[in-house]
């Protein structure tokens, strides 16, 4: 089964994130100065403007902040409807990290705001890329 959905352009500025997924780590840029997590990574920390940030593995625990069940999919998503898109709030504080992603193993009618999630990983067949998905927490 060839994966035809859009994949990331992996570049020096984001390679550590995608390398982390291959190692089953979800990494978020954490400020070396104030300790705040920043999602997505910008060149400097939003809180203190320090440019010293380190890709740091987080727990992978999150909750559903919001979700949508998609019934009209663009491009290669067309044949997968209905599928869920969630904005998941990572448990890391204090700056909230709302991460957009798809789910795996959650029947769409079980989705609700606040549902506990964990991050899981998907090696893309035929491509040197690992993706993340949200699934129900244990």
């Amino acid at each position: 089964m060839i994966y035809l959905k859009p994949l990331p352009q992996i570049e020096p500025g984001n390679k550590e994130f995608w390398d982390g997924l291959a190692k089953r780590e979800f990494r978020v840029a954490r400020c070396d100065n104030c300790g705040h997590y920043n999602w997505i990574r910008l060149p400097a920390c939003r809180s203190c403007l320090s440019e010293r940030q380190t890709w740091t593995a987080v727990s992978g625990r999150a909750t559903v902040w919001s979700y949508s069940i998609v019934h009209r999919g663009p491009g290669a998503f067309r044949d997968e409807v209905p599928y869920a898109v969630v904005l998941a709030k990572l448990e890391e504080e204090p700056r909230s990290c709302l991460v957009l992603g798809n789910t795996v193993g959650i029947p769409v009618d079980e989705l609700r705001v606040g549902l506990p999630l964990k991050i899981t990983y998907l090696d893309v067949p035929g491509e040197n890329v690992t993706l993340f998905r949200f699934t129900k927490a244990d």
Partner: protein, 389 residues
């Protein structure tokens, strides 16, 4: 009496809106520029500033004016502005009042492609997109607004039927606008919205804006020129822009703070400049890409409190005859969404202030408010307060 260099909108033009398979984006832009100048009674040679809307710039960002300066007969342009329509016009008005330039035209035109999921074809190999781009998750504009709607419903107890009320009143207005795309299909009910096919839950087809081709242009100048223009000027009483977030990669928290976000900041500035209150507004054009957007617009603009937008709509205030007739042309939901349609709301409010709106005319409309918004839902906001005198 206007101030000596007070800015006014003196020309507006909309091309045919709809499926325009025989047109190019560029030809729509040119038609719109010529049409708006003709509406004003001005000539291309009078133009010394431009606001090319998204996709109408041809060269990116601050180099766009080089393309247009040469295309328009090597005209020495003195102003090139960007931003969603009301924001770009607000800055152009400030430049005109300051004496930087004299006649500014904002323009847009798009043909031959679609914003929504139908416009995206599957490829033979997986396409590559920038880092955390939403396309990787099969998301698109409707998905973002659906996420926003779901969270809004969760926080404030609003229902899908509440959102649907927006589609119902907006369609009613479209039926009174002979130029609207959906008006000929007649009025709709809340049940019809709820029974239309789901796109991105909780949003159904009739919660979503149209996805058509079209163009428009708007001409702005100062009082001395406005005095000799063909149509009654719509004076810029106040205008402002505010920007707070990124390109649809996340929506920073909090989403619905009591003090509002970018829209509130732009609105407060524009109302303060204009010296008018929310109650003074006779007609409003509020960006309505989805039903949830109108509800949030009303709250962020300060026409009601945060969380009360759905009740405001249900009480009928947005209808013609209500206290804040809103999107009287049928809006983006039922008149036209041509890709970057933020100028369409400006044009409708100008036509209302001129008294050109026929069956949908707001009697004695003197002061109008326009909100243009977009990017990461309310990430960018532009607000314009216009007056008939």
């Amino acid at each position: 009496m206007p101030r000596s260099r007070q800015a006014a909108i003196v020309g507006v033009y909309t091309t045919k809106q709809g499926k325009l398979a025989d047109r190019t984006s560029f030809s729509l832009q040119l038609e719109a520029i010529r049409g708006a100048l003709d509406d004003a009674g001005l000539a291309l040679g009078d133009v010394d500033g431009i606001v090319p809307m998204y996709g109408s710039d041809h060269l990116p960002g601050s180099t766009a004016h080089q393309f247009w300066a040469e295309q328009l007969d090597e005209r020495p342009l003195r102003l090139m502005e960007t931003g969603v329509a009301a924001g770009g016009l607000a800055k152009a008005a400030a430049a005109i009042e300051a004496g930087m330039c004299g006649v500014v035209v904002l323009f847009y035109g798009k043909a031959g492609w679609q914003l929504g999921p139908r416009g995206v074809q599957a490829e033979a190999t997986a396409p590559r997109v920038p880092d955390w781009a939403f396309e990787q998750a099969g998301a698109y504009m409707a998905t973002w607004y659906a996420l926003w709607a779901r969270r809004y419903m969760h926080e404030f107890g609003a229902t899908h039927a509440d959102l649907a009320e927006v589609a119902v009143f907006t369609r009613y207005h479209a039926t009174l606008n002979p130029g609207s795309i959906m008006g000929p299909k007649g009025e709709i009910t809340v049940d019809q919205v709820l029974e239309s096919r789901p796109i991105c839950e909780p949003l159904n087809l009739l919660d979503c804006a149209l996805d058509n081709d079209g163009g428009y242009a708007i001409v702005l100048t100062h009082a001395a020129v406005a005095a000799s223009c063909r149509k009654t000027p719509a004076w810029v009483l106040g205008g402002a822009e505010s920007v707070c977030a990124d390109f649809y990669r996340t929506i920073p928290e909090p989403w619905f703070p009591e003090e509002g976000k970018a829209v509130r900041r732009a609105a407060d500035t524009a109302f303060s400049m204009a010296g008018v209150s929310r109650d003074d507004i006779d007609v409003a054009g509020l960006y309505d890409c989805f039903t949830i957007t109108t509800i949030r617009d009303l709250e962020e603009m300060g026409f009601c409190k945060i969380g009360e937008g759905a009740d405001f709509v249900k009480e009928g205030h947005c209808l013609l005859g209500g206290k804040l007739p809103t999107n009287t042309d049928g809006g983006l939901l039922s008149n036209s969404h041509n890709g970057d349609p933020s100028g369409m709301h400006v044009i409708e409010v100008v036509r209302q202030l001129r008294g050109e709106c026929g069956a949908r005319q707001v009697p004695d409309a003197r002061i109008g408010a326009v909100l243009s918004q977009g990017w990461a839902v309310h990430g960018i906001a532009g607000v314009l307060i216009l007056g008939a005198e």
